[in-house]
Structures are given as C-alpha cells and as structure tokens.
C-alpha cells in the first residue's frame, strides 16, 4: 500500500466524507420526524391516515433502497418529475428510513404496559394530553435503542447512493479504483472513513440511550 496514493486521494475522500455526513444527517432528521408521525397515526388509530401509514410502511420496508432510488432518479423523469441526484437521495432515504423509524417508534409505544394508558384515562387525561405526558415520554425513551440502530443502518445505507451518481464515499472509492486501479489503498480508505463515522456515532448513541433513560425514568 502506498501512502502517497492515499494522500493524493485525501481531498476527494474529504469531500465525499462531508457529503456523506450531510446527506445522512438530513435524511436521518427527516426520516425520524416522518416516522414518528406515521407511528402516532397508527398508535391512535386515526381513520384513513393510519391505513395510509401502514401501506407506506409495508411498501418501503419491503423493497430495496437501490431500486427506490433508481425509480426516483431514472423512472420519474419519464413522467415529468425531475429531481437532482442529491434530492433523490434525500427523498429516497427519508422515505425508506421513515418506514423503519415508524416501526421503531411503534415498538416503543407498544412496549408500554396497558395499565399506563388506562391510568392516564382514569385521571381524565384527554388523548392529546396523554400523548404529551405519557405516551411520548415513555414511548420515545423505549424506542431509543431501535431508533439508534436505524440511524446506524441509514448511515451505512448511504453507500447505495453511489448508483445515482452522488459522489459520496463509496462512489468516490469505486471511481478512483476505476481510474487508477489501486483497489487496496482506496478500499482501505473507504473502510477507515466509515469507521470514523460509525464507531463514534455508535458510542454516542449508546451514551445517549443511557442518558435518555435516566432523564425519563430516573434510572442510573
């Protein structure tokens, strides 16, 4: 392996690194927000909307992100909708991620003992007050581990953006290999780049998990 080759590729990897982070962050935020709304719609059996939420979840959880992206990027223009590669990436990943996130939140909500909801009702709390004071604080806390797992999953999944020409990390590595045929160096840099993102992220999320539990239930 040659240092020199790696050094000369560093700027490109840096750019890709930043882009990967940016796209991940935006998608994670959007997916989490959308996923929460979808989960609440189902939790409270909102008419019509809860069914839409179900269909949405099943559809996007059971198809590959890659084909969703292809469809957005190459398929939609034939019917007159054209988004840039990065927009397609963000939209695709947010939808895909939301389908997973709503599952995580639902798991959190349904893990709550039934007596909790009943005692909230017994105190006369209205549905919105129940969401605000009981369902959300407990449900969110319970969903943190699953949400954290989804975040890691989504960040890894950004590697698939390579297929719609988004110059993120995987794309950059493949591209460099294609031009200069130095697979060892570039693959090494690629794995290191993901490790730099994912290892600290997973540590932070674990700490956060503990912190949130303590904040909510007073655990220590």
């Amino acid at each position: 392996m040659s240092w020199q080759i790696m050094q000369s590729a560093l700027p490109l990897f840096e750019r890709a690194f930043v882009l990967t982070l940016k796209l991940s962050a935006i998608s994670v935020v959007l997916a989490t927000a959308l996923g929460l709304v979808l989960a609440l719609l189902r939790e409270y059996r909102t008419p019509v909307l809860s069914h839409i939420s179900t269909v949405f979840q099943e559809l996007f959880r059971n198809t590959p992100l890659l084909i969703q992206l292809f469809f957005l990027y190459y398929g939609l223009p034939s019917v007159g909708i054209m988004w840039s590669a990065q927009t397609c990436a963000i939209v695709g990943m947010s939808i895909f991620g939301a389908a997973y996130m709503s599952g995580a939140f639902e798991g959190g909500f349904s893990g709550m003992p039934r007596v909790q909801k009943e005692s909230a009702r017994a105190l006369g709390l209205a549905p919105l007050q129940m969401i605000r004071h009981v369902t959300l604080p407990q449900g969110l806390t319970r969903s943190v581990p699953a949400v954290a797992a989804n975040i890691i999953f989504m960040v890894k999944e950004t590697s698939v953006f390579t297929v719609i020409a988004v110059p993120e990390l995987t794309n950059t590595a493949r591209d460099l290999i294609g031009m200069y045929y130095r697979s060892d160096e570039y693959l090494f840099m690629l794995v290191v780049a993901y490790a730099i993102i994912l290892i600290p992220l997973s540590i932070i999320l674990t700490l956060l998990e503990r912190r949130v539990r303590r904040g909510t239930f007073g655990d220590n």
């Binding site: 590669a85 020409a165 493949r174 591209d175 290999i177 294609g178 031009m179 045929y181 130095r182 160096e185």
Partner: protein, 269 residues
C-alpha cells in the same frame, strides 16, 4: 488485510520485465481448449458494440469478434457482462480470460493488463442537445458532464479539465438516461458510440468529434498471459487479412451510424 498480494501497477512502473518473463498468468490457450470455453467480458448495454436483444441473446461488434474467436479456438464462449470500471478487475481476479468491451488502450491500463493488437480506432467525443450545442471542451467549464466510471473520457476530463463538473455513472444505460433526462449539459464518451447514439436520438449532435489524441481499442488479457496474448495477436492479424472487420462493420455498426462516418474512421486495416 489489503497489504499483501501482488501489486502489478508498482511492478509495471519499475520495469515491465519483472512481472512478465517466464511466469505465465491466467489460462493458456491449451487450457482454454481443454476447458472447452473461453470467458469473455463485454458490455451488455452498449448497442451497437455489446448489448442484449429482447430474446436474451448478445449482439454487437465486440460480440461478433468474440464469437469469431470462439469459433477459431473451437470452444464455447461464456459471456461475462461487465461495467466499464470492472474490466481491469475481471482480468486481475481471473474472472475472465479476455476483455472485448470497447477497451481503450491507455498507458495506465497497459501497466495492469496486456493489450493485443487493436481492432478499432477511437477518440473522445462530446454529445449535446441541438438546443444548447457544445462545440468545444472549454464551453463545458462549470457545466455538468455525464461520463461512465472507468472510461477514458472520465480520466481525460479529470486530468485536463478539472473545472468541468463530472457526473459519474456506473453504466452506459444510466449515463445516457441521465443525459436524456436533461440532468447534464453534455455527455462525453468514445466518439464511435456517440455517433451511433446520436443517430438513434434525433435532436442531439456530437458537437465535439475528437478530443485529445486518437487512441485505439484492443482486446486485453491478464497481465502476463503471454500465451493467449500471442494467439490473439495472430488471430487479429488473420481476421484483418480475411476482411472480418469490414464485414462486421457493415453488419453490426453501419446501420447505427450516420452516413458521414466512413469505415476508415473506425476500423483498422
């Protein structure tokens, strides 16, 4: 884990003799004959050079050459579909014996594979819509240009026109699709297929016909596969003499080209 293993590029730089010489890499002609099949890498989405018809069979100029080689070796051809960026690795990792996939001969590539005698001439061209025609590479500054990963066009623009924003795609299908969807201002690739493509797609013109030096397209074998290389060189010479390439041009390429392209622009006598 990536540290060990042969490093052909480095070896090539320090003197090409070190890696070739006595050691035979890849399958020899005899081995291929014994196996009864030759594995050839080609494109699957690049009419009229290498593509798959609706009935699932392969066709095109590269494919015609491959089939002829198979016939002359007396073996079956096993086609392995690759993308541009997979051509070198398919040889390096012994996935194929021969590459016939519009493989342009370049110095970098010579360090990692062995090219046989060329069978086609090529140079980089740029196609653009008639409504916003690009006639020189300088006009592309700050604009988006579609290329396929691992092609000479990609390398050429990366090195000579860093101001051009490259959109890099995995396959020909994807680059042309994105181009037609209007995602990019122009598309750069080997001029020969741009001619063909522009003919199929009215409203687009190859505004820049040649860029950089003219280069050639040749079959490639694994670096060090001297046996197959020698055989292939002989074969190309023989086929040239027999007029095979002229025939193939007429049947495979000409119908896709506009009339201003002459056989001499493409094939090597």
């Amino acid at each position: 884990a990536c540290g060990n293993g042969p490093d052909p590029a480095a070896a090539g730089a320090s003197g090409s003799s070190s890696s070739s010489g006595s050691s035979q890499e890849g399958k020899t002609v005899d081995q291929i004959k014994k196996d009864g099949t030759i594995r050839i890498a080609t494109f699957g989405d690049l009419p009229p050079y290498g593509y798959v018809k609706n009935d699932g069979t392969r066709a095109g100029y590269d494919v015609a050459l491959g089939n002829q080689i198979g016939k002359d070796l007396g073996v079956k051809v096993e086609w392995v579909q690759v993308n541009a960026d997979g051509r070198v690795d398919s040889l390096k990792s012994d996935k194929v014996d021969l590459v016939l996939a519009n493989f342009t001969v370049t110095d970098e590539r010579k360090q990692v594979v062995d090219f046989a005698e060329p069978y086609m001439k090529v140079s980089i061209g740029v196609v653009s819509p008639d409504s916003a025609k690009i006639t020189s590479a300088d006009q592309l500054k700050g604009k988006q240009l579609a290329v396929t990963k691992g092609t000479t066009a990609e390398t050429y623009f990366t090195e000579n026109y860093p101001d051009v924003e490259l959109q890099k795609f995995d396959s020909k299908t994807q680059q042309f699709q994105a181009f037609k969807d209007g995602r990019v201002a122009a598309l750069a690739d080997d001029n020969t297929y741009l001619y063909a493509w522009a003919k199929d797609n009215p409203g687009y013109t190859v505004g820049v016909k040649t860029l950089g030096e003219e280069s050639t397209i040749a079959p490639a074998v694994k670096k060090g596969n001297k046996d197959l290389l020698d055989w292939t060189n002989k074969e190309i010479k023989q086929l040239s003499a027999d007029g095979f390439f002229k025939n193939a041009y007429e049947t495979e390429l000409a119908p896709s080209f506009t009339s201003d392209i002459k056989p001499e622009d493409v094939i090597i006598e």
